[in-house]
């Protein structure tokens, strides 16, 4: 493992911005440092070699940015969260004639497919539209394909059952060439598109936003800005879901939300 220091990370951030225009200055340094160290390790480089390497620009820098921003995700992550969403949020939204959901920072689509499956089981996928956005084109391409390895799907299946799934997850995908492809009918109500939470603005109004384990990668200051964007994108009485170790604290918007579940981090916009 090759380790980097914070002083080197700052140099890297400046060089990436000069070469590509992509700005990491709003990214939380501790996890960015971990990711950059992992990049050095997997690519068998030291820091000076990395600096020389990215001078090539183009795909090299693009690849580095991808690796530094990619989010880890799995379907039905946190069974207790999905149980609660079905019990408290879906029952609330049930009476709406049309519904818009936003999965902000959707990675390879795991959360969006999870939502689609549970909306289908709740009986209102047909009048729902799920916007799933990410800043990575590579992740979005994978998300549109909806293809997962069988190893991952085994975990997803366990999560699905733990989250109170009504069938077997295999009812929602077919297997070909040792991979699982999500059924096209699930995709019909999902719009995958590019959106940068740190730079792009409000693009629609939603009754439900899931942004779990995404803002942990931003600095306190940038996180406040993104919180504002999520708040502005929610309709009144809309729901906001964060990851298990995140809180509304330090967001500046604590007063505008009612706590639906403080452990699972589900909030409702009330003003």
């Amino acid at each position: 493992m090759v380790l980097m220091e914070y002083s080197e990370l700052e140099i890297l951030i400046v060089r990436i911005r000069e070469i590509s225009g992509f700005d990491f200055s709003g990214y939380a340094r501790p996890s960015l440092l971990r990711r950059a160290s992992r990049y050095l390790t997997t690519h068998k480089m030291d820091f000076p070699q990395l600096l020389a390497h990215i001078e090539q620009g183009g795909n090299v820098v693009y690849g580095l940015i991808q690796e530094l921003t990619v989010n880890y995700s799995e379907m039905f992550r946190d069974a207790d969260f999905f149980m609660k969403v079905k019990a408290e949020v879906f029952t609330y939204l049930e009476s709406y004639p049309t519904l818009r959901f936003w999965v902000a920072g959707c990675a390879s689509g795991e959360e969006a497919y999870s939502l689609a499956i549970f909306l289908k089981e709740a009986g209102f996928l047909n009048r729902s539209l799920i916007y799933a956005t990410d800043l990575s084109n590579k992740a979005l391409t994978a998300a549109r394909e909806g293809i997962f390895t069988l190893g991952n799907v085994r975990t997803f299946s366990e999560n699905y059952l733990a989250a109170g799934g009504k069938h077997s997850l295999s009812d929602y995908y077919h297997v070909a060439y040792n991979k699982a492809a999500m059924l096209p009918e699930l995709r019909r109500n999902i719009v995958f598109s590019m959106h940068d939470l740190t730079g792009d603005g409000v693009f629609n109004e939603f009754q439900f936003i899931s942004c779990r384990n995404v803002m942990i990668y931003f600095t306190l200051e940038l996180r406040q800005k993104v919180f504002r964007l999520l708040y502005d994108s929610l309709s009144m009485l809309g729901f906001l879901c964060l990851g298990k170790r995140e809180t509304l604290r330090y967001s500046g918007l604590e007063e505008n939300f009612k706590v639906i579940d403080s452990t699972l981090n589900i909030y409702q916009k009330i003003r």
Binding site: M1, S31, R35, A79, L220, E246, T247
Partner: protein, 194 residues
């Protein structure tokens, strides 16, 4: 990132372990009494679906405040913290906790290396780092990094560990860690508490 000016004396004690470490953690927590001059941070390998709330389990063993911190919570002296399942717990140079869910290290999230390495480069003083029983090589790099930065490091005697691999690997990576045995654990902890 701005460093907190107040509370300049913050120091950390880091303790990592996996299978076979739980009882030792409990023993250490029993020895710890309010007020503590440092923040005590435990990283125990646990499955992602682990529902055990460690501060609850240990609450009758000490009078020091215990928690599984939230993202961005300030790190405070006189507190005991536990890493949360399915996330890496990172120590920020601004004296806050940061969560991360990138890849597992040695099939573990939380990983001991993630926390220990982040502490080593944080600029915060590490009063001691200890590594106990476990069956992977996690922690070896973090311990080595801390030792090379000049912080005191302690590894359980592999011969006494329920799962010797983790302390063994740490000693293979760096020979000069101090050895913890059943005989000197009590006095080492007491020294750290001074």
């Amino acid at each position: 990132m701005s460093m907190a000016k107040e509370n300049d004396s913050l120091s950390l004690v880091l303790i990592g372990g996996s299978s076979g470490s739980f009882a030792i953690f409990e023993e250490i927590i029993r020895l710890v009494r309010n007020p503590l001059s440092f923040a005590l941070i435990f990283v125990l390998h646990r499955g992602k679906s682990s529902t055990a709330v460690l501060p609850e389990i240990f609450k009758n063993k000490t009078n020091v405040a215990m928690s599984e911190p939230y993202h961005l919570d300030p790190i405070e002296a006189n507190s005991i913290y536990f890493a949360y399942p399915d996330y890496h717990l990172l120590i920020g140079p601004d004296r806050r906790f940061y969560y991360d869910c990138t890849d597992k290290d040695f099939f573990s999230r939380p990983s001991i290396d993630a926390t220990f390495i982040s502490a080593a480069v944080s600029g915060i003083s590490v009063k001691a780092a200890m590594l106990f029983s476990g069956s992977s090589a996690d922690g070896a790099l973090g311990m080595k990094t801390l030792a090379e930065k000049g912080f005191p490091t302690y590894v359980q005697n592999p011969a006494e560990a329920e799962s010797p691999r983790m302390p063994e690997q740490a000693l293979l990576a760096f020979e000069k860690h101090r050895m913890v045995t059943g005989g000197n654990l009590f006095s080492i902890i007491n020294d750290i508490l001074q």
